[in-house]
């Protein structure tokens, strides 16, 4: 395979990437941090990363467009893979989120670098940081990639979408349904959505992370309470309700009114579906807009039910899969124009805070490169708009909550309050 034709979500990612070009990282990547017990040498890690050589043609590829169909694709390359592995000596108590932010804000070395690694030696243990390019990986795919590295498995070539923009009628129908749904959410433009944006858009600022680790026992109790209230498999709506409640206070503090809405654009992994199952490379998610008026925050039970109902409705109306299909049409739009369009659709006034929940799925191993894993965290960079996101991943039954934000977009006091609200929700007595 020398060409992989993008799906619509890949093209959205290209647009988000473009929105980040004036930021320090210059792209929309993400970091996965592995906290390992024991030391690991630079040489050993370098040797270990040679396991990725099978995937060299993808890892050294770049975006291109087919001249006749205009379909964008990933142009694979025959270059030799040389993954940049850095080594840094850190202090024993070095904070993973600070180290990850430092690494995440650093740009890749050119258009053909899509993965780099930094090893921070923390005395008796190691912090291993992988920076992934969203053009080639999403969070679920990156976990599968690490699992394949760990197992020394061969990397399978991804299936290709057809470059032909076939089934136009079907795709237009999907597009129309998506458009109707978005207009319905926006109440024909009458709804006002809360954003954290300062008057002056701080698009060139660096990305920071704040993290909260919830031990396994507390996480289990939290989800058991969620199941009691909302039934099985409703972890995402339950977490969305928590995030909605936590954002209501800073929103009100910034002058938002009771009838203003908080809109949470949530990414939903599609890997459970036939066409996306076990895909390592490229993007296999859809976007689900959850929203409620701020006034609802004073009724937590209603918020939970509303999030559950919205989730069911999004699946029932086929919004998630319609978006997946309809987006294939967008690939023909020039990227600068699409970037402008997507910044209107997916950010700015239409999004208060990004959200994603990645349950334990792709990476289940308890060791990496022979070292026991203490924790695995996802730390995604966030585009200038909405400028803040709350990302939750589960590893070894415990939860990591990561607030990713553009510095200057939220004050330290607001962050502390937000973290405290989230932390309290996991305390054994209070619940949410």
């Amino acid at each position: 395979m020398s060409k992989y034709y993008f799906n619509g979500i890949d093209w959205i990612v290209q647009a988000l990437n473009r929105q980040c070009r004036k930021t320090p990282s210059r792209n929309n990547g993400f970091v996965i941090a592995l906290e390992l017990e024991g030391a690991i040498s630079e040489n050993e890690l370098q040797k270990f990363m040679e396991r990725a050589d099978d995937a060299a043609k993808l890892l050294t590829g770049k975006t291109a467009r087919q001249k006749f169909h205009l379909a964008p694709y990933w142009k694979c390359s025959a270059r030799k893979l040389s993954i940049n592995v850095e080594f840094r000596k850190g202090s024993p108590d070095e904070d993973a989120s600070l180290a990850a932010a430092d690494f995440a804000n650093r740009p890749f070395r050119g258009k053909r670098e899509h993965l780099s690694v930094r090893l921070v030696s923390r005395g008796k243990d190691s912090l291993l940081l992988f920076k992934f390019d969203h053009l080639l990986f999403d969070g679920g795919g990156a976990e599968l990639f690490l699992a394949a590295l760990n197992d020394a498995a061969q990397f399978r070539e991804p299936d290709c979408f057809s470059p032909q923009l076939s089934d136009w009628r079907d795709k237009f129908e999907s597009g129309r349904n998506v458009n109707r749904f978005l207009r319905y959410i926006n109440a024909e433009g009458k709804r006002k959505f809360f954003t954290f944006h300062p008057e002056q858009s701080a698009i060139s600022t660096a990305n920071r992370f704040r993290t909260l680790h919830i031990p396994a026992a507390q996480a289990k109790a939290f989800f058991a309470a969620g199941e009691e209230k909302l039934g099985p498999f409703m972890d995402t709506p339950f977490l969305l309700a928590l995030v909605f409640g936590a954002l209501a206070e800073p929103a009100t503090g910034r002058g938002a009114q009771d009838n203003d809405f908080i809109l949470l654009p949530a990414t939903i992994d599609l890997r459970s579906r036939r066409e996306h199952r076990n895909r390592i490379f490229f993007n296999h998610w859809s976007l689900a807009p959850f929203n409620l008026p701020i006034a609802a925050a004073s009724h937590p039970d209603l918020v939970m039910q509303a999030m559950r109902e919205q989730f069911i409705e999004l699946v029932k109306s086929k919004f998630l899969t319609n978006l997946d299909k309809a987006n294939l049409l967008m690939r023909i739009i020039p990227l600068p124009l699409f970037t402008k369009m997507s910044s209107k659709i997916f950010a700015g006034a239409s999004g208060s805070c990004s959200f994603a929940f990645l349950p334990e799925s792709g990476f289940k191993a308890k060791t990496f490169a022979g070292r026991k894993i203490r924790n695995l965290l996802h730390l995604p960079l966030i585009p200038p708009k909405p400028g803040i996101g709350i990302f939750i991943n589960r590893y070894n039954e415990a939860l990591n909550i990561v607030i990713s934000f553009r510095e200057e977009i939220i004050s330290e006091a607001e962050l502390e309050n937000l973290l405290e609200t989230l932390r309290k929700a996991f305390e054994p007595v209070s619940g949410i």
Binding site: E227, G231, P232, F233, M234, D235, T236, I268, D269, L270, S272, R273, R274, E275, R277, F311, I312, V315, K316, L320, P359, S361
Partner: protein, 86 residues
Amino acid sequence: METVSPAQIADTLREEIAIITGREKNEVEPDKSLAENGINSLGFVELLLAVEKHFGIKLMENAMSNADISSVNALAAKIEKITRKN
């Protein structure tokens, strides 16, 4: 409504799970939990919608417990119980 046996219901569930998760029907194990059979939250809602289509019952409106999803067979038994009541 025509009575359907738990075995028939389990068979339909296995078919639907196979469609949702992209597995072969014989890969869907009736004694394993929905999660072990590849169902996640998105797939679960899709499965509930399929149950509504096939059996005319809204599982979302019936209290569901962990035990009900402990296996495909357990879910089939739950559906059979509700259809019998109706």
